[in-house]
């Protein structure tokens, strides 16, 4: 054995060198790539800010097919039994009679729809006090929606007080569960910020809401929304009807809006475009609203003396009609939010009248403001505005009356 064999000369072969250099370069390159791409110079400030949600126009799917001669308001009057009560069968007939001239429930609810019914469950009062929606009316609406093929029916409201006693005492919980609908109680996890308008509100223009936290989850799930308000006196805003009913969707410290109640309620009228309004005028709280507390303050059917159900696709006109015909008050005298809501709603409707002009204006704004997004962004904005414009909203219900778009029946 030679010395060479027992002591091999140390050294790096070419192969080893290539392998080692390649490995080093690869590791270094990887480290460099990782450092460059994972380095976060701005930290949390760079986190994406998700834009607040916007609400759908729940009437838009029906708007185009809603006939020009189909009633905008349909009233069905009923009666009481010998004991002065309103039988369940009468309520059923009133609802069907109210919806009949408008095409029936099938006009509004399609097979497979998820329907949100929004009653008023604001207080822990029994149904007879008329501070909350009549549970019998709710039960019948649930049945009707199911008969039209609704896949899922949600009943939701966000009372000021603790929800559990409100839903229990008002019997809304019982009505919901006995008809197999889903009761969605408010909780923080179900709230979300919603952009009612895409800027801060201008109080000088009677605006109250910009982005606000809303009980959003049921609205997000719903294909169709039915407002189911009672009619009540209200010490702040004169009357609580269908537009005011949407107050129950707001979260947070909403009491601050009491100082400018007409601003907030009119914003709600603009914010929410429901599929249908079904007004519960079985019992009307004539005095000491919105809480009530005395049966003497409640009148069956209000000043009409007969229980009624009012179906409408124009919550503004129906509120004005109800104020006059159920509370016996002149809407022009005290319900300022109706005027303000009309201005705001008509503003939205007007934007969608001329698509070409709208598109041109948005394009010019984009150029002037040098904001990016291009045509895609404009298309999206145009689509949104056109969607929001598909609704009705006039305060003067007499316009509908003159055109024969208010129907009244008796059952």
């Amino acid at each position: 054995m030679s010395n060479q064999d027992s002591n091999p000369k140390p050294g790096v072969t070419r192969r080893e060198m290539i392998a080692r250099v390649s490995g080093t370069v690869a590791v270094a390159a990887g480290a460099t790539w990782a450092a460059k791409h994972l380095y976060d110079p701005v930290g949390d400030a760079g986190l994406p800010v998700y834009p607040p949600r916007t609400l759908k126009n729940y009437f838009a799917p029906i708007f185009d097919s809603y006939g020009a001669s189909t009633p905008r308001i349909s009233v069905a009057h009923g009666g009481t039994d010998a004991a002065g009560e309103i039988p369940r069968e009468t309520i059923q007939k009133m609802i069907q009679a109210a919806l009949g001239p408008m095409g029936g429930i099938e006009k509004f609810i399609s097979k497979g729809d998820t329907v949100l019914i929004k009653p008023n469950v604001a207080f822990d009062r029994g149904p007879r006090m008329a501070a909350t929606t009549n549970p019998d009316v709710l039960a019948e609406m649930i049945r009707l929606c199911r008969s039209a093929g609704a896949k899922r029916i949600i009943v939701a409201d966000n009372p000021i007080e603790k929800p559990e006693p409100c839903f229990a005492k008002s019997r809304i919980k019982h009505a919901t569960e006995s008809e197999g609908a889903e009761l969605m109680l408010p909780s923080n996890a179900l709230f979300a910020p919603v952009a009612i308008r895409d800027r801060d509100p201008r109080p000088a223009d009677f605006e109250a809401l910009g982005t606000w936290e809303v009980f959003h989850r049921p609205l997000e799930l719903a294909d169709k929304v039915i407002g189911l308000p009672p009619i009540k006196d209200h010490n702040l805003c004169f009357a609580s009807m269908s537009i005011k009913n949407w107050y129950g969707l707001l979260c947070g410290r909403r009491n601050q809006f009491h100082q400018a109640i007409h601003n907030i309620v009119s914003d709600l009228g603009m914010m929410m475009s429901p599929t249908l309004i079904v007004v519960d005028a079985t019992r009307v709280l004539m005095k000491n609203g919105p809480t009530g507390g005395k049966l003497e303050d409640v009148a069956i059917g209000g000043v009409s003396g007969r229980p009624a159900i009012i179906a409408s696709v124009d919550q503004l006109a129906s509120d004005a009609w109800c104020c006059r015909h159920l509370l016996g008050r002149d809407p022009a005298a005290g319900v300022r939010y109706l005027d303000l809501a009309e201005t705001k709603i008509q503003g939205r409707i007007a934007l969608g009248r001329d698509e070409a002009a709208l598109r041109a204006r948005l394009t010019a704004d984009q150029v002037q403001n040098k904001s990016g997004g291009g045509r895609e962004r404009i298309d999206a904005k145009v689509t949104q505005i056109l969607h929001e414009s598909k609704r009705f909203g006039i305060r003067d219900w007499q316009v509908y009356q003159r055109e024969g778009l208010i129907k009244e029946t008796s059952v």
Partner: protein, 496 residues
């Protein structure tokens, strides 16, 4: 021993070293490109640059209370000792004697019109006791309750005051800002939300049978004094006792709260009684404590049902199909039966009398009853208006009632002023307002008892007088003669 690195190894090593240096160096050079460091704070905002006093002021004063409004360029101001006289224009001694340690002031301007200005002044005192005293001393005579902090009030000029903890806060607007969108109320709310409105009393432990809610937790003793256990064993409760103050009454009765606040609401205690023999028969008891007995009566009267069945309880009471309502002393009590409760009037009375027995009443709430004539008075038309009676901003705390005889109708009113001078001043203001509203004073006379005037505004007649410390009249009467006769009765009932 191994030889030193060979040539190849040296080359490999050098290459590796160059690569490493190049990569690290490139990274370092790239990182040194100008961009705001992550943890940097602009120099002017660095903590060390702001004094503790200003930091304290910044925590108390809202920065941007409404869109378009912000603190003026001088930022939050802090004054102590003699310097407190500067912003107030009054001697600092009175403040230091009252226990004021510092004054934090913020002036807010409307960016669209900087003439509009609101001012917030937060006085820091030794403790809640001094803060409460200062708030009460600063409260104007014509102030009404406001749901802010503790003891919140709103003066006739729109200024707001409240105390909470060791602070007394005052919010006011200048003349130019009178009709601004940001009102003293809104600004005061923002400011109040930054304070903890604690009182001198330490919170007492709440018994397990009661549930605290709202502002301060009720002590067991307080709750039992207001909503007592009914002797005899017929009733169980009260359960679910909760107390609400002006800041959170809305959590119980929502928008209706404003109606109570207008009558100087102070506290509401709520509890539920349950009939022992039938669990579904429940009665909700609401005990509203108002600023004084007259305001309690006024609130009670405003909600009273017409043609209600009188009930012999309290200073005035009536039974309804669903409960019992009465006022006594400063309290207005509502007992409302549950939907399925089939309770008799006697059962409601049992609870009502137990509650009433714990309420003090010095009488005199409805002092106008014996003055306003009975003849021709429309039933249940008597009301007590706390402010802006007949849309006149200087006329507050007025009893009024409607009178009718056939087609003739009028409304009589009466106000009890502090003294003759105050009554006379109101008379003069009202007389001036007749002309301001485009009317004409038809007659005005003075006598030893007081003064009398008649006015015509667009064909409707106002008659006013003052006598002793009372100021009264008839408002918007279509028939002057009819109104004159009623006024004659009213004046005659007042002893000078």
């Amino acid at each position: 021993m191994r030889d030193g690195p060979g040539a190849r190894e040296r080359i490999v090593g050098a290459v590796c070293l160059l690569l490493t240096v190049g990569i690290v160096g490139g990274f370092v050079l790239d990182a040194r490109r100008p961009r705001p460091p992550f943890f940097s704070v602009p120099p002017e905002m660095q903590i060390a640059a702001i004094s503790p006093e200003v930091r304290h002021a910044m925590s108390l004063l809202p920065e941007q209370p409404a869109p378009g409004w912000q603190l003026d360029s001088s930022g939050p101001e802090v004054y102590a000792g003699e310097a407190m006289a500067r912003p107030l224009g009054e001697p600092a001694e009175s403040l230091t004697e009252a226990g004021v340690k510092r004054l934090f002031q913020g002036r807010y301007l409307d960016r669209e019109d900087t003439r509009r200005q609101l001012t917030v002044r937060v006085f820091e005192l030794e403790g809640p006791g001094q803060a409460k005293k200062l708030a009460e001393a600063k409260r104007p005579r014509d102030a009404v309750g406001e749901p802010l902090g503790r003891g919140g009030w709103r003066g006739g000029d729109g200024a707001i005051g409240f105390w909470g903890g060791r602070y007394y806060t005052h919010v006011s607007a200048n003349e130019a800002a009178r009709d601004a969108v940001l009102t003293p109320q809104l600004l005061a709310r923002e400011t109040a939300s930054r304070q903890v409105a604690f009182d001198e009393e330490a919170p007492r432990p709440v018994a397990s049978a009661t549930e605290g809610a709202g502002g301060a937790l009720p002590s067991t003793e307080v709750a039992q004094a207001i909503l007592p256990v009914i002797e005899g064993g017929t009733w169980i409760g009260p359960a679910q006792v909760a107390t609400f103050d002006p800041t959170n009454l809305w959590e119980k009765i929502n928008g209706r709260a404003e109606a109570y606040l207008a009558y100087d609401f102070r506290r509401m205690t709520f509890g539920t009684y349950r009939l022992k023999s039938k669990a579904t028969d429940v009665v909700d008891a609401f005990v509203y404590e108002m600023g004084d007995a007259t305001k309690a009566f006024g609130m009670y009267q405003s909600e009273r049902s017409s043609n209600a069945t009188p009930a012999a309880i309290g200073a005035d009471g009536y039974a309804s199909a669903s409960g019992l309502f009465f006022c006594k002393g400063k309290s207005y009590v509502q007992l409302i039966g549950g939907e399925e409760a089939a309770l008799s009037a006697e059962q409601y009375l049992q609870i009502g009398q137990a509650i009433a027995s714990g309420i003090e009443d010095e009488g005199g709430a409805n002092w106008a009853e014996k003055l306003l004539p009975q003849e021709g008075r429309v039933a249940d038309s008597l009301e007590f208006i706390t402010q802006d009676a007949f849309s006149l901003d200087f006329l507050s705390e007025v009893f009024s009632a409607r009178y009718r005889d056939g087609d003739d109708e009028t409304t009589l009113f009466i106000h009890r002023a502090a003294d003759e001078k105050a009554a006379g001043a109101l008379f003069d203001k009202y007389a001036t307002s007749i002309e301001t509203l485009g009317g004409k004073v038809l007659k005005r006379e003075q006598n030893e008892e007081g003064a009398y005037a008649e006015g015509d505004i667009s064909g409707e007649y106002d008659i006013i007088f003052w006598k002793g410390r009372y100021f009264g009249g008839a408002n918007a009467a279509p028939n002057l003669e009819f109104a004159r006769k009623r006024i004659e009765s009213l004046r005659g009932a007042i002893e000078p």
